[in-house]
């Protein structure tokens, strides 16, 4: 199993290949959105949406054998792509690793610059919510 740092490095390398062209970077992110696993419809409810995103985002997580499994969806393709990156980095990691993770791939791939402040805020809200799930599972594990 790759570490969070390894996966982030992989993503950074992939985005380096894309170069500076903003349009192709966005197209690529949108394509990544298409690779997201289908979101379970029973969790498509307001209580699973994330506040702070202009686009709608649903996120749910479960614990399997000490690892966290996230599922998420959005009504915009770019956001779906970003979610798929976050899930790729954090899925199947332990709550502890997720809580300690320094998610630096976002600035390293220049995403803040590409996304603008609205989506960046949404992305931050998404990461916070993912960490909150991890914290909940960790608390449960330690109980």
């Amino acid at each position: 199993m790759s570490t969070i740092a390894d996966i982030q490095n992989e993503i950074v390398a992939e985005f380096e290949i894309l170069g500076e062209d903003r349009e192709s970077t966005i197209f690529y992110i949108m394509e990544l959105g298409g690779t997201l696993e289908p979101y379970p419809e029973s969790f498509r409810k307001d209580e699973y949406t994330i506040q702070g995103c202009q686009s709608k985002v649903w996120l749910v997580a479960e614990e399997q054998e000490g690892k966290v499994i996230y599922k998420a969806d959005s009504n915009t393709d770019i956001t779906k792509g970003l979610i798929s990156l976050l899930i790729r980095v954090l899925n199947h990691q332990s709550p502890k690793e997720i809580l300690n993770a320094d998610l630096d791939f976002i600035p390293r791939i220049g995403m803040g610059n590409i996304l603008g402040s609205q989506r960046s805020n949404g992305l931050a809200a998404m990461m916070n919510q993912m960490k909150r799930y991890a914290l909940a599972f960790q608390t449960k594990q330690n109980a």
């Binding site: 062209d21 966005i26 197209f27």
Partner: protein, 407 residues
């Protein structure tokens, strides 16, 4: 006379830049227009030479600043055809102008059971102040419905009008769809039942001839920054007799005649409604913006912008996946649309990657979006400095994005 668009563009320094590696194509003019050099120069000149507080200074700078400030009031008066400059009140923007009327006209004239009419097309700034007033007074807010094309349903408006109607507050041109409402007809119909009319001119005043005497509107609200002028400045026009009868809005300096701890008497209009130090630099710099529009000619501007709109419609009407939103017969140069199976936000971001600035979302008209069954739209809005070549680049970019999901 037609528009010499290249010479006009040379007056706007901000247009001459690249964004994300492409020449900037600024199509977010309904949100705010860019400023000609003369406006920028006036701002700088004021702070370099004339900065001073207005109206009571006993020195030369204060006198210069006051004179220029009041010259703008004269220009605004002429621009909208008001009887006298005392009917021109400077505010922070359209939103504040409408709130001022809601608070002061509302306090004086609205009672429980009275009715205020607005339309489905309204911007939140022409909805929320009335909701707040209704909550406060027990007055009732009634909504004029629209057709799918985005036009008022006249018969429904007539049905809603009654002796209970105290105010019709209506948008002259819709920011989200571009629909031009028949202002004169609305005003006459409202007056026939004894109601007053506030015209929200935020979008219309830069594109259309808006003459308050010809229209006979009771109030007109608009913002300088949508007329090539500075931000943070708006105008409220009101008929003298109404303004005089209304209580003040904010209390403070400037708006008083005499203050004692027992009783304060208020200044005359317009100063009664201009408490505190106003946006002096912005007011002064608004005059060259109005001069720019006047010298270019409203009719020329409208003709040019309409040509751009028609061109955009022509280039995009048969593109698979492009869905125009708002197809009223009379429109200002706003092209609102969606792309099948795509979120407007994504479309906006892809256009931005090409240096094309548009607005996406609900455009502060959530009830309108709900009526149309949409989450939002992508909105391109044109101004006098936009070109047919820009429209072509925009249309090509939209067509490319549409092809992603609409093979």
């Amino acid at each position: 006379m037609s528009i010499q668009v290249n010479s006009i563009r040379s007056l706007f320094p901000i247009l001459h830049q690249e964004v994300n590696g492409n020449p900037l194509i600024y199509l977010d003019n309904a949100a705010t227009t860019q400023k000609p050099q003369a406006v920028l120069d006036a701002l700088t000149h004021y702070y370099e030479k004339d900065n001073s507080n207005i109206h009571r200074g006993a020195h030369t700078l204060a006198d210069r600043a006051t004179r220029q400030f009041e010259e703008t009031r004269e220009s605004v008066k002429a621009y909208i055809g008001a009887r006298e400059s005392a009917e021109i009140i400077f505010t922070r923007g359209t939103t504040e102008s409408i709130n001022l009327v809601a608070k002061t006209f509302g306090a004086k004239y609205l009672q429980k059971g009275d009715e205020i009419l607005i339309s489905t097309l309204e911007h939140h700034s022409n909805i929320v102040p009335w909701q707040m007033l209704c909550e406060h007074t027990g007055a009732i807010l009634k909504i004029i419905p629209i057709t799918d094309a985005g036009e008022l349903i006249w018969e429904e408006f007539e049905k809603l009008l009654s002796s209970k109607t105290k105010l019709v507050s209506i948008v002259h041109a819709s920011n989200a769809l571009g629909t031009i409402n028949p202002a004169k007809r609305i005003i006459d119909a409202a007056h026939a039942v004894g109601a007053k009319v506030l015209l929200d001119g935020a979008q219309s005043t830069s594109h259309l001839d808006v003459d308050v005497q010809a229209l006979d509107c009771d109030f007109l609200a608009f913002s300088a920054h949508k007329l090539y002028g500075p931000t943070g400045l708006g105008v409220l026009y009101g008929k003298r007799e109404l303004l005089e009868s209304m209580p003040p809005f904010l209390g403070g300096g400037e708006m008083i005649r005499e203050v004692t701890f027992e009783k304060t008497t208020y200044n005359t209009i317009p100063f009664k409604f201009e408490a505190g130090t106003p946006s002096i630099a912005e007011v002064i710099a608004f005059k060259p913006a109005l001069d720019f529009i006047t010298s270019t000619g409203k009719a020329n501007i409208h003709h040019h912008e309409n040509d751009l709109l028609q061109y955009a419609v022509e280039l995009l009407q048969d593109v698979k996946g492009v869905i125009p939103v708002g197809t009223a017969a009379e429109k200002i140069a706003v092209f609102s649309f969606n792309i099948q199976s795509m979120h407007p936000f994504d479309v906006g971001q892809l256009l931005d990657a090409k240096g094309i600035a548009v607005r996406t979302g609900h455009h502060c008209t959530q009830p309108l979006m709900q009526r149309l069954g949409l989450e939002g739209t992508v909105r391109a809005s044109f101004a006098v400095y936009n070109t047919r070549a820009e429209v072509e680049v925009f249309a090509q970019a939209v067509a490319k994005i549409a092809s992603l999901k609409n093979k």
